[in-house]
């Protein structure tokens, strides 16, 4: 914790203020692009009415939804409501987009955390081991599994898992959310890719550091394998790992579209698919903005973590040589 405090103390207030301003700008860009692109995708009113509806019916619904105004008016009105966290109401369900997201969010967070934990607990040690034992059987034997994990598409892996564990063995539920057991298969499906990517980046980062001179110095003091790896190499190879972890966290929290669809998981990913199919503009917009905020936040956090991991990141240029 003291390191965090130190990182913040050394003139980073201005840095953070700058980053927050940058984030606001990015967010504004995202809002605008999503707003415009969605309106190019077609008329949501046509999807809301039955096949035999008349042109008047459609026009009435357009007026109701406020879609008859010019795109500029719509856009300014949308922007004016954003500061109050009013993202509009779902065309389909008539409920506020924020409500819909917050209802789905706990499921997505559960799944994301489970997948993240799994990929960290497996991916990082596997990467470390395959780097350290690169000359031995273990190091060589691990990499094919990593490659399989990385190349296996989620929809295929998910179906195989359902077929085996739900249909054949009847050990685990195949769909929906019903307690912790139903978390297992979706979590494995979702984690397989990040697990493999994490293992690979850990391996390459460790390989680079294992040949570093300070490793030999540590060994010359009598340090053993565990001490060398955990005490010296881990922190030195942490920056690429943390970078990837940040991206993975953001991706997982943004909703796993494919995995949630396969397992009928009631999370953000499923909501996204439903909203896009129904041209439910307010919901899609709200989801995209939500995901963008997560990405921007996680990136900011990752950048600040760099300075905690490697104080030279911040001290560089401030002339602290003695």
């Amino acid at each position: 914790m003291s390191m965090l405090r130190r990182a913040f103390a050394s003139g980073s207030a201005r840095y953070i203020a700058g980053r927050v301003g940058q984030a606001a700008l990015q967010l504004f860009g995202v809002v605008t692009i999503v707003f415009v692109v969605l309106r190019l995708s077609g008329d949501p009113a046509r999807l809301l009415v039955p096949q035999q509806a008349t042109a008047e019916d459609i026009a009435r619904i357009r007026t109701q939804l406020g879609l008859d105004a010019s795109i500029w008016e719509q856009y300014l009105q949308y922007l004016s409501k954003l500061p109050r966290f009013d993202f509009g109401y779902s065309y389909v369900q008539g409920r506020s987009a924020v409500d819909l997201i917050s209802e789905r969010l706990p499921y997505t967070i559960n799944l994301a955390l489970a997948a993240l934990l799994l990929s960290m607990l497996v991916g990082i040690p596997v990467g470390m081991a395959s780097a350290y034992f690169r000359r031995r059987f273990l190091g060589r034997a691990l990499m094919p599994f990593v490659l399989i994990g990385q190349s296996m598409p989620a929809f295929w892996l998910g179906l195989l898992l359902i077929l085996f564990f739900s249909v054949r063995l009847r050990w685990l539920p195949s769909t929906g959310f019903d307690g912790l057991t139903s978390l297992i298969l979706p979590a494995i499906t979702l984690a397989s890719l990040s697990m493999a990517t994490l293992a690979r980046i850990t391996r390459s980062s460790f390989l680079e550091q294992l040949n570093a001179d300070y490793v030999r110095t540590a060994r010359s003091r009598g340090a053993g394998t565990a001490r060398v790896l955990m005490g010296h190499v881990l922190r030195n190879s942490a920056i690429p790992i943390v970078t990837l972890l940040g991206l993975e966290i953001a991706a997982l929290l943004g909703g796993a579209v494919i995995t949630e669809t396969i397992f009928a998981w009631p999370g953000i990913g499923q909501l996204t698919v439903q909203a896009i199919q129904a041209r439910d503009f307010p919901v899609v917009q709200a989801i995209v903005i939500f995901v963008a905020i997560i990405y921007i936040g996680v990136n900011l956090l990752t950048d600040m973590l760099y300075a905690v991991i490697d104080p030279r990141v911040r001290l560089a240029g401030s002339g602290e040589q003695v």
């Binding site: 110095t217 010359s220 003091r221």
Partner: protein, 343 residues
């Protein structure tokens, strides 16, 4: 500090010749490659007694560092020991499992590496890196270890050690970093220190200070130092004895005074002639040794120096044994300069 150090030095010297042998390398041969096809060390033998500083001298690639790493049991994975024995404080190193070697490293023997900038972990406070040997090898409490680290940092000339032990390596100057390296190697009070070109990366004034510090702290403790260098000036400064290596062979071993006054091997002689001296004539090029050191495995038959040697004859196509030419002066040459050439 200096007064105290000198007192102990005098004490250590009085023990004289009977001092305990700390390191013995005997018939060490090391090779690289899958089929051990590139032999890099041939039948290397040397020994060190407590309190003695032996300089291991030679050009880059002659096997100095490889010898050092063999002693530490830290040979790179692609190198193998073909034959020989290394004992540190009476304990065999060759063939000893890693688990046991770890116990000797940092406690019986320590190593000072060449470039402290890369040899130190850039992301760990220097105090913690120095302390590591104590954490591994002793049961001392936190406070006791801290006191030891501070005392040693002070002894090697790091100012304000209490505050600076929390800093990272990049916050120190090159000279201070090397002092930290020395403290790190010495903290476990090893009987043997291997210093692998500890001053090569430093500028000349700092170099002199570091040598001074190294001499002070090792003499005070009676530590044996195997000092690896290619700098004859440094040798004259620090060494009691000199072991000259060429192409993976020990070719000469003698007292430091004798090495400089009567170098017996043509290579040693040539090496000494290529050192600039205050009486060198301006404008005249320093004598250089023609050619370069043979790569491991590509060494010529016989004496590895014969292609570059002005005294070479047909005989030199077989490797001469290391033999005593004068009391305590061994040389491996068919045509040694026993009379001491004029310089």
């Amino acid at each position: 500090m200096p007064e105290q150090a000198e007192g102990v030095v005098a004490d250590g010297r009085s023990a004289g010749e009977a001092r305990e042998e700390v390191l013995r390398v005997e018939g060490l041969s090391v090779a690289f490659g899958r089929a051990s096809e590139r032999v890099a060390l041939h039948d290397v033998s040397l020994s060190l007694r407590a309190g003695e500083v032996v300089a291991l001298v030679g050009e880059s690639g002659c096997g100095k560092s490889l010898t050092a790493l063999s002693v530490m049991g830290l040979l790179p994975p692609e190198a193998h020991v073909l034959a020989g024995s290394i004992t540190v404080c009476g304990k065999e190193i060759i063939g000893t499992p890693e688990r046991l070697l770890r116990r000797y490293r940092g406690s019986a023997m320590g190593m000072i590496f060449q470039d402290a900038m890369v040899a130190l972990n850039p992301l760990q406070a220097v105090g913690r890196q120095i302390d590591e040997a104590l954490r591994i090898h002793t049961n001392l409490g936190r406070g006791q270890r801290r006191d030891k680290v501070i005392a040693l940092l002070d002894a090697v000339g790091v100012p304000d050690p209490t505050n600076r032990l929390r800093q990272l390596p990049h916050q120190f100057s090159g000279g201070l970093r090397q002092r930290i390296m020395i403290a790190m190697a010495l903290i476990g009070e090893p009987r043997l220190i291997i210093a692998d070109e500890p001053t090569t990366a430093l500028d000349v004034t700092i170099q002199a200070q570091i040598l001074e510090v190294l001499k002070d702290v090792t003499q005070a403790r009676g530590t044996a130092v195997l000092f690896i260098t290619h700098d004859m000036g440094v040798v004259a400064e620090v060494a009691d004895r000199v072991v000259v290596m060429y192409g993976g062979h020990v070719i000469e071993s003698a007292d430091v005074v004798e090495t400089f006054s009567t170098p017996a091997h043509p290579y040693t002689d040539a090496l000494l002639h290529s050192v600039p001296r205050t009486d060198s004539v301006r404008g005249v090029d320093l004598p250089a040794i023609p050619g370069s050191v043979p790569a491991p495995g590509a060494a010529p038959a016989g004496c590895p120096f014969h292609p570059r040697c002005s005294d070479a004859t047909q005989e030199c196509l077989t490797m001469p044994p290391l033999e005593q030419v004068l009391p305590d002066h061994d040389v491996a040459c068919w045509h040694p300069h026993t009379s001491g050439r004029s310089r």
